[in-house]
């Protein structure tokens, strides 16, 4: 199959040299997402962002001086890993495939990306954040988002330094690797800074009732001065609402799982207070790329971006497009090399450079506050200098 593709590409190149120079080519980017099932609220917005960016690029005349148009093919993998493995192979069988993008969760990337690695096609995950991902998969694996270590360190630093928290309880969604990793890194950093962990509690994905955890939180004596809630968007608003309704007023801190309107709409403006989370630098950010993105998204879909995964999907396409421009070619291997060489790409979710040995982009992390249901960008945290 790969041979056929190479022959076809070589043929195209030969005719391209001989024939008219303005011949236009449409390249395919496969977008693997869980558009139905349990993960769909995370992945569907990401595909929306990706489709939007491709449409905007094509409207603006395409890439490489108008010779290359993008076609993003969304593949629904139904929150099922058998579907994921099949979809990866389907993507790799597509004509003119130059790259794959997808997923907001590490476990699904690990079921799809190795096939791309083996086939020599770059795979850019829009939302997965496990810092070992490129190491595990290989040199064709790229991340759009920061690593969980960075975002946890950012919020741990902020909680310790600025909020002055010293005794914190940690809540973790025990059913997901993302949330477990986030808690692990938070605990590590917070203790390292001199803070004390006064309670550990767990829930499961899909839980809506946190009353047992809250009762236990209230039973901690003396009371903690903050709680770290490691959750995905579906649990973010629910946990804030129930914690505040129980009369607990100390700060709730979290990571990018809290980057959703639900943190404000579910508890309502009266209760959505003193919530602080680290996230991708786009919410409440006034950079031009951000406001352009938000405006275009609202125009296309009639609603603001649902959560941080929509700008990340948008940026994943941005990275591939940037790499095609930089490579001056649509050969997957050239695109891979160009991706690895990306420096200071201004994405909606912050600057992206692949300078670390781990290939996790050292991105700035936004610290965002929710008061009265309003999101405010408090400060931007920068990771430790490039190692």
């Amino acid at each position: 199959m790969r041979t056929l593709k190479t022959i076809a590409a070589a043929g195209a190149l030969a005719t391209g040299l001989g024939a008219a120079a303005e011949a236009q080519e449409t390249v395919t980017i496969a977008a693997l997402y869980n558009l139905t099932g349990g993960m769909s609220s995370i992945d569907a917005p990401a595909l929306n962002g990706a489709l939007l960016h491709a449409a905007l690029i094509n409207e603006a005349g395409g890439l490489l001086d108008g010779t290359v148009m993008l076609e993003v093919v969304g593949i629904d993998t139904k929150t099922d890993q058998q579907e994921t493995a099949t979809a990866a192979q389907q993507a790799l069988s597509m004509d003119n495939l130059v790259a794959g993008i997808g997923y907001g969760d590490t476990t699904f990337v690990l079921a799809a990306a190795p096939a791309f690695q083996e086939a020599g096609i770059p795979f850019v995950t829009s939302g997965a954040t496990h810092p070992m991902l490129p190491t595990w998969v290989g040199d064709h694996m790229f991340m759009t988002a920061f690593g969980d270590d960075d975002q946890s360190y950012a919020i741990a630093d902020y909680a310790y330094d600025t909020l002055g928290l010293r005794r914190v309880a940690v809540w973790t969604d025990d059913s997901m690797d993302f949330t477990r990793a986030l808690s692990t890194f938070f605990r590590e950093r917070f203790v390292e800074r001199g803070g004390e962990l006064v309670g550990d509690d767990f829930f499961m994905m899909g839980d809506t009732d946190f009353s047992a955890q809250i009762a236990r939180l209230q039973a901690i004596d003396p009371a903690p001065d903050g709680v770290f809630v490691s959750a995905i968007p579906g649990e973010a608003g629910l946990s804030v609402k129930q914690i505040r309704e129980a009369g607990i007023t100390y700060p709730i801190v979290s990571g990018d799982g809290f980057d959703t309107e639900l943190v404000s709409t579910v508890p309502g403006p009266d209760l959505a207070n003193d919530v602080f989370f680290s996230s991708h630098t786009y919410r409440a950010d006034d950079r031009q790329v951000v406001s352009d993105f938000v405006a275009a998204y609202e125009e296309e879909y009639g609603r603001p971006p649902e959560n941080a995964f929509s700008p990340l999907g948008y940026d994943a396409i941005g990275l591939v497009a940037e790499a095609i421009e930089a490579a001056g070619s649509t050969e997957p291997s050239a695109i891979r090399d160009a991706l690895a060489g990306i420096r200071d790409y201004e994405a909606v979710t912050g600057m992206i450079s692949y300078t670390r040995e781990t290939m996790v982009p050292p991105k700035p992390v936004a610290i965002i506050e929710v008061q009265g249901g309003e999101f405010t960008l408090l400060e931007t945290w920068f990771p430790d200098e490039v190692e």
Binding site: A44, A111, S175
Partner: protein, 352 residues
Amino acid sequence: MTGTTRGWLLAAGLTALGAAAVWAATASLNNYLLTLIAFAGINVMLAVSLSLSNGLTGLFSLGHPAFMMVGGYIAAILTFPANRKGFMLPDLPEWLAAQQWPLLPALLVGGAVAGLAAIMAGFPVLRLRGHYLAVATLGLIFILRAVVNNLDGYTRGALGLSGIPKLTDLWWVYAWVVITLFVCWRIKHSSLGRTMMAMRENEMAAACMGVPLARTRLMAFAIGAVFAGIAGGLWAHLVTNLTPTSLGVFLAFQLVVMVVLGGQGSLAGAALAAIGLSAIANLLRPVEQSTGIYGMTQIVVALVLIGVLIFRPQGLFGSREPGVLMRRPESSAPSRTAASTQTTHLEQRGST
């Protein structure tokens, strides 16, 4: 006597034909289609082995994914490259971490442990009937998931095992499909199989005839689990990734759907339903992708299911097998009996 010879010849012929088809497929099809066929084959294994308990014996088990998990994790841990294993799974005892097995023994051990697990779980659980058994076996999935999820040092927890060597190919799947079909076919047409069906039709009458109820139930459950464990191992080495949520409730439902759609107790029916369902879903895939109407596949499959069950309530084949596959050409009498027992069976179910 001639009938038996004919049966063997037919089986050998079909196996050779299948092998030729696999050879032609691997030579001409791309990886996408090969992957699809491989998954369809694994589903055939699962549906056919589940029909032992759910179809023939009339147990309502949702536990197959749990046994797949057992077999899958064990096989994956055994084949995993030793140089990375100790680092990834720090709690594994050293002698185990040093192992790096080929696929076949790993699958067999996985299947055996799944069978043992089924015997252990089956002793208490199989005392339950009907929906009570369904809920209890559903519970097995949740219990196992919680355990795998929390034994980080052995299973890498929620992250799952990734980078499992990709050892499963179409030949492996084909060989196991043939073995599964062969074994289950032999069981169905042996005295054990007739015992199972007797229990399904009327437990009390079967008991009066001296059928050891508990042992037969356990046999059906455990043999099914062995194949589920092996299928889990094949699955893990095809996807190369196995997490606590990879094999869950939804898969359990899908498998029950295949068994029922094929006809309770019809092995060929279960196999064809497994193939048919994945064919429909994957034929719709390009339509879904070009229209952007995601979820359409599930909607169409759901409608097809409702339609089939309304117009063919006994499933594709009832409890029978397609006529061509039956051993004796003159054996129309037994199959008519099978059909009539099936009807009484339906009436009895419908009216109680």
